[in-house]
């Protein structure tokens, strides 16, 4: 998985958990909370959906890694790739 593909995965999840948001111009390097109406429960949703849909675990200490699309991609892409290497 590329980092861009990883960002798409995260955006797909956000589209479901924040259905009123326009995601067409989300900036990768800006904190998601600074450009979208997302609260702490929404971030727990992102964690839950990563777990449900992709079997990816994000420990609480790493939640900060989900701040922006760029940081999501940095953090999650190796996890996705490690998973696909296993399978």
């Amino acid at each position: 998985m590329t980092k861009d593909e990883c960002k798409k995965v995260v955006l797909d999840i956000i589209a479901d958990i924040a259905p009123d948001e326009d995601l067409t111009n989300v900036k990768s390097d800006v904190r998601l909370r600074d450009q979208l109406q997302l609260d702490s429960m929404d971030f727990l949703d992102i964690v839950m959906e990563l777990r449900k849909r992709h079997s990816i675990e994000v420990p609480e200490a790493d939640y900060i890694q989900l701040a922006s699309l760029d940081s999501c991609a940095e953090y999650l892409t190796p996890k996705f790739n490690a998973l696909s290497a296993k399978s």
């Binding site: 958990i17 924040a18 259905p19 009123d20 109406q37 429960m41 727990l44 949703d45 839950m48 777990r51 449900k52």
Partner: protein, 412 residues
């Protein structure tokens, strides 16, 4: 000191056969039921009263996703009631508003959904939603309405089984009289059709209605009645002290005339006609009326074989044969049993009788059960009457809670 007079100044509702008072009333007069078949988890196709209101009229998609159906119904009804009341909401002191919502149960839907959800993950509880607790707390429906409306006054639910709709109104009247709030948004709601447990429970009790034609499934007082049609719905009112309503030139639907609440203390599920009659009598006495002064009695009857007879026994004991101007009807024959919303919705459907002097009938009575043949029963066709100055609304519930609410035509 004489208690403040309390008046109804706004109505917001969603019923299986209407999403506004005007639509609901028209369907009650036209004999249009709102029962359909619905897929219920583990049980397949069942009869249910389903509401088709537009949730996005007053909520964002995210509010609908995060919240509960009960919360969504509450928001819809509260917003519609406020709009109907023509209160200047932007100028309203939000800390002086109370939200009092009756519900039969809450949390079953959300808990069942979560158990079903984790069943897809080998019952691993790490897949259990972090929304479970805010969704299932008993105050959820009122809390969601307070969030949506920005109400900072007291907002909570009143658990009173199927008497809850009346209890919402009664509690609101009490809080207004105590001066706790200046405006109450109150009534009852239900999301019960989304829990299989309600259906399965009634089925195990041999109290779940079946019929080939959904529109004919809910048939109180008919010989062939065979149980309850479970429905969802909601009806919330704005209640105000009379002087406040008059000061802003509000339209007044009715005045709260009297009420009473008591308990059977005799059985988990079987009604007690002696206690029901006591409740009805006490409400009439507290309204300063006599039985002959009551012009419409909206029955609670749910179409269970025994329950209908028990209520008829109670009504017969109070009204006897000497009340020629008392007309008796039933709303569940159209919309099934809307549980916590039942009392509030059924009252709303009768309120327009103050204006049009028409009593909507009880439909689906093809063969009247002699044990339910009350004098004054309005069967299958609307009845134009000479006078409607009072409406008495019965709502009873499991564990033996009885409530009777009387409203009267407003006269300054």
């Amino acid at each position: 000191m004489k208690p403040s007079r309390i008046v109804i100044t706004g109505v917001g509702l969603t019923a299986p056969n209407g999403n506004s008072l005007a639509e609901f009333r028209q369907n009650l007069l036209n004999g249009v039921a709102g029962i359909e078949r619905m897929e219920i988890r583990y049980m397949g196709s069942q009869l249910a009263g389903v509401c088709h209101y537009d949730a996005l009229r007053h909520q964002t998609k995210k509010e609908v996703r995060v919240g509960t159906r009960a919360g969504s119904i509450s928001v819809y009804c509260a917003r519609e009631a406020l709009a109907d009341s023509k209160i200047d909401w932007s100028a309203q002191a939000k800390d002086r508003v109370g939200i009092y919502i009756g519900c039969t149960e809450h949390g079953n839907v959300e808990t069942e959904n979560e158990i079903y959800n984790i069943s897809k993950f080998n019952y691993d509880t790490k897949f259990w939603s972090h929304y479970h607790n805010p969704r299932t707390v008993a105050n959820n429906p009122a809390g969601e309405a307070s969030l949506n409306l920005g109400v900072t006054g007291p907002a909570y639910t009143i658990g009173a089984a199927c008497a809850a709709g009346n209890l919402g109104l009664i509690h609101a009247a009490q809080m207004l009289r105590l001066g706790e709030v200046d405006l109450a948004i109150c009534g009852g709601i239900s999301e019960s059709i989304h829990t299989f447990g309600i259906f399965a429970g009634f089925k195990s009790q041999n109290a779940l209605a079946t019929h080939a034609d959904p529109a004919k499934a809910s048939r109180p007082f008919d010989k062939a009645r065979n149980g309850i049609v479970v429905s969802e719905g909601g009806c919330l009112y704005t209640l105000e002290r009379l002087e406040d309503a008059q000061a802003r030139g509000a339209k007044i639907y009715a005045e709260i005339a009297g009420y009473h609440v008591n308990s059977d203390a005799s059985d988990y599920v079987l009604p007690n006609p002696v206690r029901q009659a006591e409740c009805v009598r006490a409400s009439i006495r507290r309204a300063g009326l006599t039985p002959a002064d009551i012009h419409i009695v909206n029955t609670h009857a749910t179409a269970t074989p025994l329950g209908d007879i028990q209520e008829c026994e109670a009504i017969r004991a109070v009204f006897g044969e000497g009340c020629p101007e008392t007309h008796i009807n039933n709303t569940k024959s159209y919309i099934g049993h809307c549980m916590g919303a039942a009392g509030a919705l059924e009252l709303a459907g009768n309120l327009p009788s103050f204006d049009d002097l028409i009593v909507h009938p009880t439909i689906n009575v093809d063969d009247l059960d002699p044990a339910c043949a009350l004098p004054g029963l309005v069967l299958n066709q609307p009845r134009k009457v000479a006078k409607v100055d009072t409406i008495l609304n019965n709502s009873f519930g499991m564990l033996g809670i009885n409530s009777t609410l009387i409203v009267k035509r407003f006269a300054p």
